[in-house]
Symmetry: C2
Subunit: 333 residues, 2 copies
């Protein structure tokens, strides 16, 4: 992987750094730069944090376990950092409907607190926020670009959009160096796969590894664009160092639109095991379902030069291999 | 004023019922219906609640003073109500930038808690939420209709949009009978006028009554559409009783677009006193200023039959007369 000279000797804070994307970021920075890596993670059971995600990291990261809403601890952690990758959050749409106030705390309140802390104690830090395509709700046109109307369909989408908007406003009103990426479905090593509440891909992987039957709702015809986690880390690193990124909002999009059925069939072909059946949509999913989605990342390609470099088959192969080797760490007990 | 038979013998909860619009709602229901009127108000100093706003009410209302985030108290207050006029909130854009976490609590968290309480304990109640044109941010076209892009420019707008979105989602996902009105600048009796942080009209009224010099920023050329509070109460009452209202979002708009300069000159002409001068925009205002705004209320006119019936001159006359008679209660000490 390419060296990252822009991060050498920088102090980099990763919120949610024990989670899926955050821990992949930590591994990358450890391997490809001389950045000082600092992590904050609440290890809240509803989020995806897992200390084992840092296993085998080539240089140690400094890990602080506390809830970002603890203003005093956050102040100490933030005051000297150069870049914040603000990736902490609760990502389950279903959980957000069952426990909406927890979702509000994790996805809105915690970020407003971080921005207030940076405004007061470190206004020069670059802050990159991981937002989500969930802001758009059900697509009114495809591919979805950044000008698509905002109409989130679940509590998670509302609170993530609030979190993103706080970052935008702290740029416009207070001059902070914020930038947001709207992620689509991300997959790869270190994602949470032991239950189905944090997205379908992780659960598919789990079922393949266990040779369990995958249930495809609604015929599996729904379209998504999956982004491999290394490509998401590429984009975050660009947004954290490129001079034109502050004040911008960028979609990430996968290398190709693909149906859920195609994804499952590809996983089965790669791993040589697994099976599936088709079933109707359960009610609690249907009401907040967005139908088919794929995005356009033309803006970030034009402005920062990012594009997803890992094809779906390659990414799925790497992910399945990673988890196959670490079954004892990632599969449910 | 017309009788309101739809509200006879109904239990009506007004959150923020000691505030500007809420207290006018209470007066109207007391005078024109046999509704049982129940009020919740935090009397938080940053909000607009004032117990004197219920002076001279023709039938008493039941008043509960607590923060809506108190789930146990809210449950007892909500469980038997037929209609909730959910008007509580923090409305100052400037305060929301200085104390964003308080704004989040008042404008997002409190409403999510109310909706959760209704979902669990009174899912059949009609809930009407007072949202705001601030969701739109700086107008991209005029007049602004409900399809205008969402891009709030200040923390208050973000949190109000989150509050509105929760109401929409609790309709779509849980079947609650919610409806939201996006209010524009509202004026009239019982509004807070003793400082400038809750909108310019109240402060203009205060300055006129004190014969103080009004400072018009940016030449006074900015356009607004002012809605008289009785017209807003009309719309809320329609939304609380009309069978087609649940699930809908409606703009309210004033009877005419008007510049700030015209408003001030009209006030001076009506009251026979007051004066003004032109000044540049202060920085803290400029950064969150939305420029000129006026809305279209064609949707609510077509669907519920609402239109603003009080012209600006008439409304300003009534407001100035109300406050002139109650200077000791509403002017700053």
């Amino acid at each position: 992987m390419d060296r990252l000279p822009a991060y050498d000797h920088k102090i980099v804070l990763i919120t949610g750094g024990l989670g899926f994307i955050g821990s992949n970021m930590a591994h990358r920075l450890a391997a490809c730069s001389r950045a000082k890596i600092r992590i904050v993670d609440s290890l809240h059971p509803a989020c995806g944090g897992n200390p084992r995600n840092l296993d085998d990291i080539v240089r140690p990261a400094e890990v602080h376990t506390f809830d970002m809403r603890d203003a005093a601890k956050l102040r100490e952690t933030v005051r000297d950092v150069d870049v914040v990758f603000n990736l902490a959050g609760q990502i389950s749409h279903i959980d957000s409907m069952d426990h909406p106030l927890q979702d509000l705390q994790a996805n809105a309140e915690a970020h407003l607190g971080l921005l207030e802390t940076c405004r007061a104690h470190n206004p020069g830090a670059r802050i990159v926020f991981s937002s989500t395509r969930q802001c758009y709700g059900r697509p009114q046109r495809l591919p979805v670009d950044e000008e698509h109307p905002i109409l989130p369909l679940d509590i998670n989408g509302v609170n993530k959009y609030a979190g993103e908007s706080y970052h935008r406003i702290y740029r416009q009103a207070h001059g902070l160096e914020t930038c947001s990426l709207r992620l689509t479905n991300t997959y790869g090593p270190r994602q949470l796969i032991r239950h189905s509440r944090q997205g379908f891909i992780g659960w598919f992987i789990h079922q393949i590894l266990c040779d369990d039957e995958i249930v495809l709702f609604g015929g599996g015809t729904q379209i998504r664009d999956l982004t491999y986690v290394d490509c998401v880390v590429d984009a975050l690193l660009l947004a954290g160092s490129h001079p034109d990124a502050p004040g911008r909002i960028y979609n990430l999009a996968g290398p190709q639109p693909v149906s859920l059925l195609e994804i499952v069939e590809m996983m089965i072909a790669i791993s040589g095991k697994g099976r599936y059946r088709i079933a109707p949509f359960p009610e609690e999913h249907r009401r907040i379902d967005i139908g088919s989605y794929y995005g356009s990342s033309a803006r970030i390609q034009a402005e920062l030069g990012w594009r997803p470099r890992v094809e779906l088959r390659e990414g799925l192969s790497r992910a399945l291999e990673f988890f196959e080797k670490r079954r004892h760490m990632y599969l449910k007990a």
